[in-house]
C-alpha cells in the first residue's frame, strides 16, 4: 500500500510499504477515509522529536472504515465508520481506568526509551516516533488499530467524514485543556494559538461557561476564523501588547485560565524569538516556549496555566519564579481522547461544535508532502490540510 513516510529531517515522501496486519487479537484494520496534518507532526518532521527512523509512516488523526477485526474485538464489525483516538489505551490499566488514557501503561512498545526521556513512558500514539510507542501512522491506505474496542468510536450517521475527522485529536485535545484547567462560569480565559487545537480549546471554554474568551495569534485568516466559528474574541500579537491588552480586558487582574496551544516551535515578534530560535537550532534547548512564558506572566495571581502544545524536552528561561510567587497552577497533558470523544460526537451532532471549517485544503495521499509544506508555511490560509487516500489502486 501507499503511505507517507518520514525519510529524514524535513524530508517526506510517499512510498510503498507492507499492508498492516492484525498483530493482536484486539486489533482492527481500518481503511482510511481521511487523515489530517497536525502541528505536532511538524516537530516530528523537523527532527525535534527523538526516535524516528527513515521509512516510518506518520499521521495520527484520522477517520476510516473497519475492514478486518481481531478475534477478541467485541464492539466493532467490518463496515463500521470509525473515528480513532490518536493515543492508544488498553482500557484496563490504572491510568485508563482513571481516564488518563494518554498515560496508558500497556501501549508503548518501547517503554525504556520513554522512561529515559521523561522518567515514565507515555501511551503509544500512531505515527509519532519509536519513543512514543513505535506504532505505524495513519497517512496510508490502511492502518492497524490496537485495542480498538477502546480507541475506535463509531461515527453517528449525520456527521460527515470531515467533521468527524477532527474528533480524533484536535477537538478532544482542546476540550481537555479547558476541562483540566478547571474553566468554570465567570472565568476569563486566554488561549494562545488559533490553530485547530487552540480554536477547540476556546470553544470548549465558551461551552463550559467562561465569561470571556480571548484567542491570540498573528495569522489574520486564523483570527477571523476563530471569531466566526468559535465565537471568541481575538488578539493579533503583532499589532498589540498582549499582556497589556489582557490586563485591560480583565479589570487589571489577568485571565483566570491561560491555555497554551502553540507548542515547541512558538513564534513571537520580539528579540526573545531570535534568542530561542538560535538556542534551539544549536540544540542548546530542544523547545521554544515563548507562548508558555507569556501565559505564565499574563495569568492572574492564583490562576491556572494549561500547556496543550507539544513539548519534547527542555526549555530555557522558564519563569519558575512567576509560577511560585504568583501561586499558579501549571498543568499539561497529552490527549486523554477516550474520555471525551463520545460526548464530543454528541456535541458535534447537536451543532454545539463546528469543525468542518478547519479543513481548509483537501489533497490526495500522493500529494501529502505538498500538504505538509502548505500546512507548515500556512500557504493560502491553510489551517489543516486533509489527506484522502485514493483507494482505487489499493490491494
Amino acid at each position: 500500500m501507499k503511505a507517507l513516510c518520514w525519510e529524514g529531517v524535513n524530508k517526506l515522501s510517499v512510498e510503498q510499504v507492507p499492508d498492516p496486519e492484525l498483530r493482536n487479537d484486539q486489533d482492527v484494520v481500518v481503511r482510511l477515509i481521511a487523515g489530517t496534518t497536525c502541528g505536532s507532526d511538524l516537530h516530528l518532521i523537523g527532527g525535534y522529536i527523538p526516535g524516528m527512523r527513515a521509512g516510518d509512516v506518520i499521521g495520527h488523526e484520522f477517520v476510516g472504515e473497519v475492514v478486518e477485526t481481531g478475534s477478541a474485538v467485541r464492539r466493532h464489525r467490518v463496515g463500521d465508520r470509525v473515528v480513532v483516538c490518536s493515543f492508544v489505551g488498553c482500557g484496563r490499566c490504572w491510568y485508563c481506568a482513571n481516564d488518563l488514557w494518554s498515560l496508558c501503561d500497556n501501549t508503548n512498545t518501547n517503554p525504556g526509551i520513554g522512561q529515559a526521556l521523561f522518567g515514565y513512558e507515555t501511551a503509544g500514539i500512531f505515527g509519532y516516533s519509536h519513543a512514543m510507542g513505535g506504532l505505524r501512522g495513519s497517512h496510508a491506505e490502511y492502518v492497524r488499530v490496537p485495542f480498538a474496542d477502546y480507541g475506535a468510536f463509531k461515527v453517528p450517521e449525520g456527521i460527515d467524514d470531515t467533521s468527524a475527522l477532527f474528533v480524533s485529536d484536535s477537538v478532544p485535545t482542546g476540550w481537555m485543556g479547558a476541562d483540566l484547567a478547571g474553566v468554570k462560569p465567570g472565568d476569563v480565559v486566554a488561549v494562545w494559538g488559533c490553530g485547530a487545537v487552540g480554536q477547540m480549546a476556546a470553544r470548549a471554554a465558551i461551552l463550559k461557561g467562561a465569561e470571556r474568551v480571548v484567542s491570540i495569534d498573528r495569522i489574520p485568516e486564523r483570527l477571523a476564523m476563530t471569531e466566526r466559528y468559535v465565537g471568541s474574541e481575538t488578539l493579533d500579537y503583532t499589532a498589540t501588547d498582549v499582556a497589556a491588552e489582557l490586563r485591560e480586558r480583565t479589570g487589571g487582574r489577568g485571565p483566570d485560565v491561560c491555555i497554551e496551544a502553540v507548542g515547541m516551535e512558538a513564534h513571537s515578534d520580539g528579540p526573545m524569538h531570535l534568542y530561542d530560535q538560535a538556542k534551539q537550532q544549536l540544540r542548546l534547548q530542544t523547545d521554544r516556549s515563548t507562548a508558555v512564558r507569556q501565559a505564565i506572566h499574563a495569568c492572574r495571581k492564583g490562576g491556572t496555566v494549561f500547556v496543550l502544545g507539544v513539548f519534547a524536552g527542555a526549555v530555557d528561561k522558564f519563569p519558575l519564579g512567576a509560577v511560585i510567587n504568583k501561586g499558579l497552577t501549571v498543568r499539561g497533558a497529552q490527549m486523554h481522547g477516550q474520555r471525551y470523544i463520545p460526548m464530543l460526537l454528541d456535541r458535534l451532532a447537536a451543532g454545539e461544535i463546528e469543525t468542518a471549517h478547519l479543513a481548509t485544503h483537501s489533497l490526495s495521499l500522493d500529494e501529502a508532502p505538498t500538504a505538509y509544506d502548505m500546512f507548515k508555511e500556512k500557504t493560502d490560509g491553510c489551517v489543516r490540510a486533509v489527506i484522502r487516500p485514493d483507494h482505487r489502486g489499493a490491494a
Partner: protein, 154 residues
C-alpha cells in the same frame, strides 16, 4: 549536517538510560538485590502467589524471588521480582546491556508482559516491519528499540 542532528536526542536519551540504570555495583549494592516492580491494576488474588507467579514470570521461577502485595490507595497489586543470586557485575555493564546480555532485561520484560497480560489480556506487539528503510541513524534507534522492553526504570 543538519540531517544528523535528530540523532542527538536519541543518543542523549540512551546515555540518560545508561546513567540511570548503571551497573548496581557502582552504587555499592548488588544488582540482584534490587526488587524490580510493576503495579498491576488487579486484585492480589488475580495476580497469583509468590510460589506461583503469573506468566511469563513463571518461566523464571527457579531463578527469582517474587513478592506480591496490595498497592496502597486502590491501585491494585505490586508485583516484584529479583534474582536469587546476585547478577554478576560484568553482566550489567553498558556493553553487556547493549548486547542484550544483562539478565535484568529478561526480568523487566517478563514483569511488563505479566502486567499487560493480567490487565489487558495481551501484550501489544509493534507493527511489522516497524520501518522500511535501513539507515545509520535508524539502526541506532533500532538498537534502542530492541533493548527498550528490557531497560527502563523498573
Amino acid at each position: 549536517m543538519r540531517k544528523v542532528w535528530w540523532v542527538v536526542p536519541v543518543a542523549v536519551a540512551g546515555a540518560a538510560a545508561v546513567r540511570r540504570a548503571r551497573p548496581a555495583h557502582e552504587g555499592g549494592e548488588r544488582a540482584g538485590d534490587r526488587w524490580l516492580t510493576v503495579t498491576v491494576n488487579r486484585a492480589p488474588a488475580d495476580v497469583g502467589s509468590e510460589g506461583k507467579p503469573p506468566a511469563p514470570l513463571d518461566e523464571l521461577a527457579d531463578r527469582i524471588d517474587v513478592r506480591i502485595r496490595p498497592a496502597p490507595g486502590d491501585r491494585g497489586t505490586e508485583l516484584g521480582a529479583r534474582f536469587r543470586e546476585p547478577v554478576p557485575a560484568e553482566s550489567t555493564s553498558v556493553p553487556a546491556r547493549l548486547a542484550g546480555r544483562d539478565p535484568r532485561q529478561e526480568l523487566r520484560r517478563a514483569l511488563r508482559d505479566a502486567k499487560s497480560l493480567l490487565e489487558a489480556g495481551e501484550v501489544l506487539r509493534p507493527d511489522a516491519p516497524p520501518t522500511t528503510r535501513p539507515t545509520p541513524g535508524g539502526k541506532l534507534v533500532e538498537l534502542f528499540t530492541r533493548r527498550s522492553g528490557g531497560e527502563g526504570v523498573l
